[in-house]
């Protein structure tokens, strides 16, 4: 499984600070940080530890199997963010 950041993310970066494997991007200073509407979790790197879930001040992070119906696109969108990034870098 992986954790997934839903569209209610407010870009408080508390999750980035606690992630032990740096799988949450973009990070402050990245060229795409300011234009990003939210933060995303790389499903290939996430180790399912749930540190980010505890840190998120707006409860925007869910395990993939527990995404609310209204956020069902978020799993694909999180993965797509990293897929597109890999191409452009």
């Amino acid at each position: 499984m992986t954790y997934v950041i839903a569209g209610s993310c407010v870009k408080d970066d508390a999750c980035i600070e606690v992630c032990p494997v740096d799988c949450i991007h973009p990070v402050p200073g990245d060229p795409d940080f300011e234009t990003a509407e939210q933060l995303y979790i790389d499903p290939e790197v996430c180790i399912d530890c749930d540190a980010c879930v505890e840190a998120c001040p707006v409860d925007a992070i869910y395990p993939d199997f527990d995404l609310p119906e209204k956020d069902r696109d978020s799993l694909e969108i999180n993965a797509l963010f990293f897929a597109e990034r890999a191409v452009t870098r």
Binding site: G7, K11, D12, A36, P57, A60, D73, I77
Partner: protein, 458 residues
């Protein structure tokens, strides 16, 4: 220093930027005695009065502010307007540092005829109305017409379009203001037309907001397939400068354009692109809006702009026009202001004297009044970190203000009627949460200034 040896700092404006500033100051050493001074009786600014009621999960951020700011000894003085009630000079006589976090309190106008007709208003006023902001309690938007037009393509435009069309029984489970809920229950609005000056690729909606429009029960999102096709200028722009969000938005808008109409939908949101309003018409109130079709071009600096493609106008009959083309800051008495950028002139949050370009000792800015009305809630966290970095450095180098008095605003506010302290805000909060619990809602907001003050004193 205060009797306890700590320097005093005042934050003017208890919205997200001010709250994040207090939070970062406490986190980085907790060196200052902090007073949070707010124009309204309640803290948290646009988190309370801007974020849409159906985005309750975002409003949870207030718990972080309560826990990490107000519970950490930061004082609160609500219903105190710095400038009129409390001049800047009085703050400078008392604090080692004053941080302006007042945001951008007005909206940009369209500058077209008829804009001032009844039935035409800033989307921000409508937002304040449904969110129970006391200043907009009596706005009474006329929802008797079938069509409402929203001008702008950002998230405020998406919020108001959603609020005008969302199932009222769903809204009834949120903290939407009671007067707004009652008015929306009686609303005749069935069609919301959202106008974007530029094309689908340049729309400033987040992808999350755009997806959400299509998820509402009973609402059909209409996009003209011709509008969803990109012109060559936009194709090139999307490939060169488009963001991840812009690419997703274009995909989503094409899906909307291709989707068959939902026969069970009773309300529609029409997203129209490359359209600019040129006039609002009506005898006593708005009856129609005239729009022109635009084309995109690159100006001499390469920036993508819209211009009318022809003189032909189309009239859209409507009873309500909400404009959402940007926020604008208001100057503060006795504090430098940049009239061109509508911000406090500053260098990493240090407010600069426009005459000398040198920092004004002890005066700082954070949030929209520092950087302009851009970014989302969390953007203020980094912004606050930046300003706090300057303050902490200035403290270390002896560059803060040297106040002549050895106290905060207590002497000025003691005994003044209507000042809401932390205890007062806690009483308001308890009353609203209790009323919410009784009606299975997150909270029921008190919306009259008098009612808020009464709850605070009770």
């Amino acid at each position: 220093m205060s009797p306890n040896g700590r320097p005093r700092l005042a934050i003017v404006g208890a919205g997200p930027a001010g709250a994040f500033t207090a939070l970062q100051l406490i986190r980085h050493g907790d060196t200052f005695d902090i007073d949070l001074i707010e124009r309204l009786p309640t803290p948290w600014g646009l988190l309370r009065a801007g974020v849409a009621p159906d985005h309750g999960e975002i409003k949870m951020l207030d718990e972080t502010f309560e826990r990490r700011v107000l519970n950490k000894g930061c004082r609160f003085f609500g219903n105190v307007a710095v400038g009129s009630d409390l001049p800047h000079g009085e703050l400078m006589r008392r604090y080692h540092a004053v941080v302006y976090a007042v945001g951008a309190q007005t909206d940009k106008s369209l500058g077209i005829p008829g804009e001032e007709l009844p039935g035409s208003m800033p989307a921000t006023a409508f937002v304040g109305w449904y969110n129970g902001h006391p200043d907009y309690r009596n706005l009474a938007p006329d929802l008797s017409g079938e069509t409402a037009v929203v001008i702008g393509n950002g998230n405020v435009a998406a919020d108001v379009a959603r609020m005008l069309t969302r199932d009222v029984d769903e809204l009834a489970r949120t903290d939407v203001a009671d007067h707004a809920l009652a008015a929306l229950r009686e609303s005749n609005v069935r069609r919301v037309v959202v106008l974007g000056r530029r094309g689908p690729a340049q729309a400033a909606f987040t992808n999350a907001e755009l997806r959400e429009l299509g998820r509402m029960a009973g609402v059909h999102v209409v996009v003209d397939p011709a509008d969803a096709e990109l012109d060559p200028v936009s194709e090139e722009w999307l490939a060169d400068e488009g963001t991840f969000t812009a690419r997703r938005n274009v995909e989503r808008l094409r899906e909307y354009a291709a989707a068959p109409g939902d026969p069970s939908a009773t309300r529609t949101i029409e997203l129209r692109f490359l359209r600019s309003p040129v006039a609002l018409r009506g005898t006593d109130r708005v009856e129609a809006i005239d729009v022109v079709r635009n084309e995109l071009y690159r100006d001499e600096r390469g920036a993508l702009r819209a211009r009318p493609a022809s003189d032909a106008t189309e009239a859209i009959p409507c009873g309500l026009v909400l404009r959402s083309v940007g926020y604008q800051a208001v100057p503060l008495p006795d504090v430098p202001f940049d009239e061109r950028s509508y911000i406090l002139p500053n260098d990493r949050g240090r407010v600069l004297d426009p005459a000398t370009g040198e920092p004004v000792r002890g005066v700082y800015a954070v949030g929209w009044i520092k950087r302009g009305p851009t970014g989302i809630l969390g953007t203020n966290k980094r912004d606050a970190e930046d300003t706090v970095g300057s303050i902490v450095s200035d403290l270390r180098h002896g560059l803060l203000n040297e106040p002549e008095l050895d106290c905060g605003v207590d002497d000025l506010l003691d005994g003044r009627a209507g000042v809401v302290t932390l205890a007062g805000w806690r009483a308001i909060d308890r009353a609203e949460l209790a009323a919410g619990q009784a009606s299975e809602r997150p909270r029921v907001k008190l919306v009259e200034r008098e009612a808020l003050l009464q709850a605070a004193g009770g």
